[in-house]
Symmetry: D2
Subunit: 142 residues, 4 copies
């Protein structure tokens, strides 16, 4: 019998007036804004250098999304403080799974599971990006 | 043998410099901004009045997300013109499925499938929203 | 000889990857996002209730902008922590002047001076907003 | 007696639900989003190549703001179609003045006057940007 635990990092969000729509609740693209910040925050907290440095050392300029699946459980509004709990739950060859739970105290507000890649510039002279193998130096930190 | 076709509406997006991140590609929360606009555009094109009118007539102030699943297939950047093709593919009792394909000419850039509800204010005096049965007047238009 | 001091409140911003544009620097509309949050934060710190409460008690649903003048002094990028220093420097009959200095440590990044109003719904049945006299209860708190 | 006319370009905006705040009106940082898009649209309409091309040919990667002064005259809301009328009214040595009038039909909604620069990377090895002399090739097009 095994049990796996993942490093979990918390990113805190203060919901602002301008994050809310005419219904008075958070306009949902803002949840993805916070999730993207929490994703990067996870790596920063693990000690991974900022992307403008990893671009020079590893060619990696960020972790674009490949796939995202989210459930919106409760609404939030301005004045709320939200905790985004973020972990990496799976490392694949050229992608990884990052999961998020957004909480307001004990209440779950949103859940999200993403597949992301470590991206570098294409080397064939064309525009666009390519997935690179998970850099061992980054994985070791996380 | 049957074949089902859905009404499809196109919402056009001109990608702007400020929609892109330091990697020079669209920052993904902006895709959800466009998808939300395309969702409302679908109803407007079908002849549904704006939400501030339906709030008075039907109590419905919008169509918040319950669940969203997206795949990011290619990157886009400023100067691109994108077509968001949107349909409602399923009507349930208190929710509906809205699907999107974002195209740049013939290239698929992103696909998204959402579950949304028609939302009204709670009637028990508490804050928050509740799903109402799909208004027949709206469904008939779509 | 007199000297006037104003209550100053600080709002802290962590600049995120997605706040930056393809040049790698903060895309300027995001500065206004933070300034708007700092404006509200000022009132919250002074003890003014949230706008959805003042709408019920005073008819005031927010403090829309009338005029804004800003200078951008230095660029900022993701990873930076910014302090937005905010004061109200003048109370007029139906408007007030709110000023902001955005600092990164000792470096001034941006300065902004705004004229805002306390807004209520129009009472003539038309859409739109109207400026109300500065509510004494709010001014007394600030 | 002289009269000066400036080339004027129009950028069209369809205001979306998510552009509006809990007061039901456009949240003002979105006006700056549209103004930035209109600024770039002006140069595109004049035949100036995209910034990722001018970065290679002229070192110019964009036109960051130095100073902006705006007046908000009327509110706008979702469903509105706005016309952003944009001109360059003054060319200085290392900066230029760009002005905007945002109209809803005949109604003026917002006015804005900006000072912008053509920016290149610093050449002293430090981070940050520097203003370059107005590129004659760009000025000739506008």
């Amino acid at each position: 019998m095994t049990s796996t635990t993942y490093k979990e990092v918390t990113y805190t969000v203060n919901v602002e007036f301008g994050d809310c729509d005419p219904a008075g609740i958070v306009w949902f693209p803002n949840f993805f804004r916070w999730i993207d910040a929490a994703s990067r925050h996870f790596f920063v907290q693990c000690g991974v250098p900022p992307w403008h440095e990893t671009e020079k050392t590893l060619g990696v300029f960020g972790t674009p999304l490949v796939d995202t699946h989210s459930k919106f459980l409760k609404t939030a509004s301005y004045g709320d403080t939200l905790s985004v709990k973020v972990s990496v739950t799976e490392w694949r060859d050229k992608s990884f799974v990052q999961v998020y739970r957004i909480m307001r105290g004990d209440e779950a507000i949103m859940e999200c599971e993403e597949v992301r890649i470590f991206a570098a510039r294409r080397t064939d002279g064309k525009n666009g990006i390519r997935a690179v193998a998970i850099p061992p130096a980054i994985r070791a930190l996380c």
